[in-house]
């Protein structure tokens, strides 16, 4: 008993110290979670917060909440209204439209592979998917439903009350809503594209045009300076000059950090299945992928914080076309993450 007490004390002390000083706080997918989510070819495992492990029941609850328009003040807008699986998990307009036809000043970023982003929204103001999930519900120009009222509304729906009890062993809470929606969003993954098969050794997976485009992507066109890794994003923020031809450019990440270097910086979007989610850029100002490449080919729009990699690329017309082909064909998943709206409680 004495020995046990000493060991316990020692373990507690060491555990406390390690807990205080250790940096890690999120874990990669556990064995059980790997059974719940299948990673497509080409993707690395993503990290999941230790206090929000993925379970089938939680993902299903999150899916229902994601598609449920009752989470808006007038029952007309759901998460899926602006992040629509049929539209690249974005929408097909420059800006998202909220309740009463209100519009914001930024486009709806895709949910595809958002599991990998440590910071969410175009300006990174939210930490992780859990930190992001409640924002649009409460935002007056999006779903316009204060979270307390959202909880009240959901409490009137027995099916939700039962599921929260089962999943979280609790009443309906804001924390639970965020965790469930985040868990569902983590399952929206795109991989298994011709590019992945080519990388795995199938030389025939890419057309000659797409192969040329891939070479440009990683070399002359310097796309991979920011669009890197398995999801073709560095998960970070850059100023490429979008909006600097207007009177009052969007300050982007500067509004979050107040660091001058972050002025006009926006999150690098992932590129898998990018052909499904036009228009492009944070303000939806560019209609096609060809126009996107042409924007970069010109070196973006000059401003004091323009990223130093933004220089004229001197791409020929054929090279522009090859790059577009690489993105359209090479990064098109054979298993696009389509999800049908579920039956709601």
């Amino acid at each position: 008993m004495k020995k046990l007490t000493f060991r316990r004390l020692a373990f507690i002390l060491v555990g406390l110290v390690a807990g205080i000083l250790s940096v890690a706080s999120i874990d990669s997918l556990s064995a059980r979670e790997k059974q719940v989510v299948e990673l497509p070819l080409g993707l690395d495992p993503f990290k999941v917060p230790a206090d929000n492990p993925l379970t089938k029941a939680k993902i299903e609850l999150g899916k229902q909440l994601y598609f449920d328009k009752r989470l808006s003040s007038d029952n007309t807008v759901s998460c899926a209204s602006c992040h629509d699986p049929n539209k690249g998990w974005s929408n097909d307009a420059a800006f998202a439209t909220g309740v009463d036809g209100q519009m914001g000043g930024r486009s709806a970023p895709t949910i595809i592979n958002s599991a990998y982003f440590p910071l969410q929204f175009w300006d990174g103001r939210a930490k992780g998917l859990e930190g992001q999930a409640l924002g649009p519900i409460a935002n007056p120009i999006e779903m316009n439903l204060p979270i307390e009222k959202a909880i009240e509304k959901l409490n009137e729906i027995p099916g939700y009350k039962q599921q929260f009890k089962k999943v979280f062993r609790s009443e309906i809470t804001a924390d639970g809503i965020a965790k469930a929606i985040a868990s569902f969003e983590r399952t929206v993954l795109s991989g298994n594209a011709p590019y992945d098969k080519f990388k795995a050794g199938d030389e025939s997976a890419l057309s000659p045009e797409a192969k040329r485009g891939m070479d440009l992507f990683f070399n002359k066109a310097k796309c991979s300076a920011c669009h890197k890794g398995h999801s073709f994003t560095d998960l970070a923020f850059h100023n490429i000059g979008v909006g600097y031809d207007k009177d009052k450019p969007d300050p982007g990440r500067f509004a979050v950090t107040n660091q001058e270097g972050d002025r006009g910086r926006f999150k690098t979007p992932p590129l898998r299945d990018i052909h499904t989610s036009p228009p492009y850029m944070h303000d939806g100002s560019v209609k096609t992928l060809k126009e996107v490449v042409e924007f970069y080919n010109k070196g973006g729009i000059k401003n004091a914080q323009l990223d130093e990699d933004m220089k004229p690329l001197k791409l020929t017309e054929q090279e522009v076309a090859d790059l577009v082909t690489f993105m359209k064909e090479g990064l098109k998943s054979e298993n696009y993450p389509h999800v049908d709206p579920p039956e709601l409680p």
């Binding site: 002390l13 390690a18 890690a24 890197k228 998960l235 970070a236 850059h238 660091q259 972050d262």
Partner: protein, 332 residues
């Protein structure tokens, strides 16, 4: 008996606590530096050399006195706000009298790795463009951007390895062979970004087993993405890659007994910056890392450790002008 056990328990717990939470002693060795970005300890004398970057000079610190060793390096600027003027960056001794200096004062493709025969303490300072100094560049090619901002320099015994910040699609570590007095050629050697999918090799040092330990800074706007990667200097093969949870590793150095120390600048939130101990173990089958914060520091940029285990760290500090310091950290 109960009392003895209780006393023993408390004593052991206190000892464990002091082992883990020993308060490091931080002393200021030199002040008035401007954006110091490199530090190295001279073999034999134990003198500490600092790249006083924005002042365009390399200095020697003897008994707290700052003495010019090489002056008039060109100055460029780094960052979009905050912006830092930078000149000489990484430092590494090839032998007691030969010092390699990584340059950051020219545009990419024009920056130079220079190797100097340095004067003894008290001697006249050299000019950065001294005729007898080797000055090596990595120009652009048809497909690759020219290299620059040579932030980290490490000497393996037969070559200098230098972290580069020019081609953001590849993240090169370059190599210059050293044979007697001959240094070069200076060539791209390890495409770290292709091997790790993370940007910007910055810190570099030689591990006790001869491998290269490299701190991959990642994106300065993204916290927590810093990597520690080990490479075989013979063929550039990646031996292990660790996510550290640190943000922007600027310096790596081994203390006696193989303890690895790192400085984290933490651009996105510099209040998180500091000195860290990293325990990184790997075999072909598994790897394990533990990262422990030793002390907070105000924008640390480089690190070196002397034979006694005293740690020297350069910090940019806060405030206008010459707020940079060389710190000595002991009692680790």
């Amino acid at each position: 008996m109960k009392r003895i056990t209780a006393v023993t328990t408390v004593a052991v717990l206190m000892a464990m606590t002091s082992l883990v939470l020993a308060e490091p002693k931080v002393e200021t060795v030199a002040e008035g530096l401007t954006v110091p970005c490199g530090v190295a300890i001279q073999p034999g004398t134990g003198h500490v050399f600092v790249a006083d970057s924005a002042a365009g000079r390399v200095v020697r610190i003897v008994d707290g006195k700052v003495e010019d060793v090489i002056v008039d390096f060109p100055i460029d600027k780094y960052g979009k706000g905050p912006t830092y003027p930078i000149g000489p960056l990484g430092l590494a001794f090839v032998d007691e009298n030969v010092l390699a200096v990584g340059g950051g004062g020219y545009p990419d493709a024009k920056d130079k790795l220079r190797v100097y025969n340095i004067p003894a303490a008290g001697g006249d300072a050299l000019n950065a463009d001294e005729d007898d100094a080797a000055a090596l560049e990595i120009p652009a090619t048809d497909k690759l951007a020219g290299e620059g901002n040579f932030y980290g320099v490490a000497f393996t015994g037969d070559a200098l390895f230098v972290t580069c910040n020019g081609d953001d699609t590849k993240g090169w570590i370059s190599r210059a062979g050293v044979k007697g007095a001959k240094v070069g050629p200076f060539m791209r050697a390890i495409a770290t970004k292709e091997l790790t999918e993370v940007d910007a090799p910055v810190a570099i040092t030689v591990a006790p087993d001869g491998s290269l330990a490299v701190g991959q800074m990642g994106e300065i706007s993204l916290p927590g993405d810093g990597l520690l990667t080990f490479y075989d200097p013979k063929d550039g093969a990646k031996l292990a890659n660790f996510e550290t949870g640190l943000s922007d590793i600027t310096g790596l150095a081994y203390a006696p007994k193989g303890k690895l120390l790192a400085t984290d600048f933490a651009w996105a939130d510099t209040s998180e910056g500091g000195l860290f101990q990293i325990s990184a173990k790997y075999t072909k089958k598994k790897q394990n890392i533990e990262v422990t914060k030793i002390t907070g520091l105000d924008k640390p940029t480089a690190i070196a450790v002397d034979d006694e285990g005293n740690v020297y760290v350069t910090v940019i500090g806060s405030g206008e002008g010459a707020s940079g310091k060389l710190l000595k950290i002991s009692n680790l």
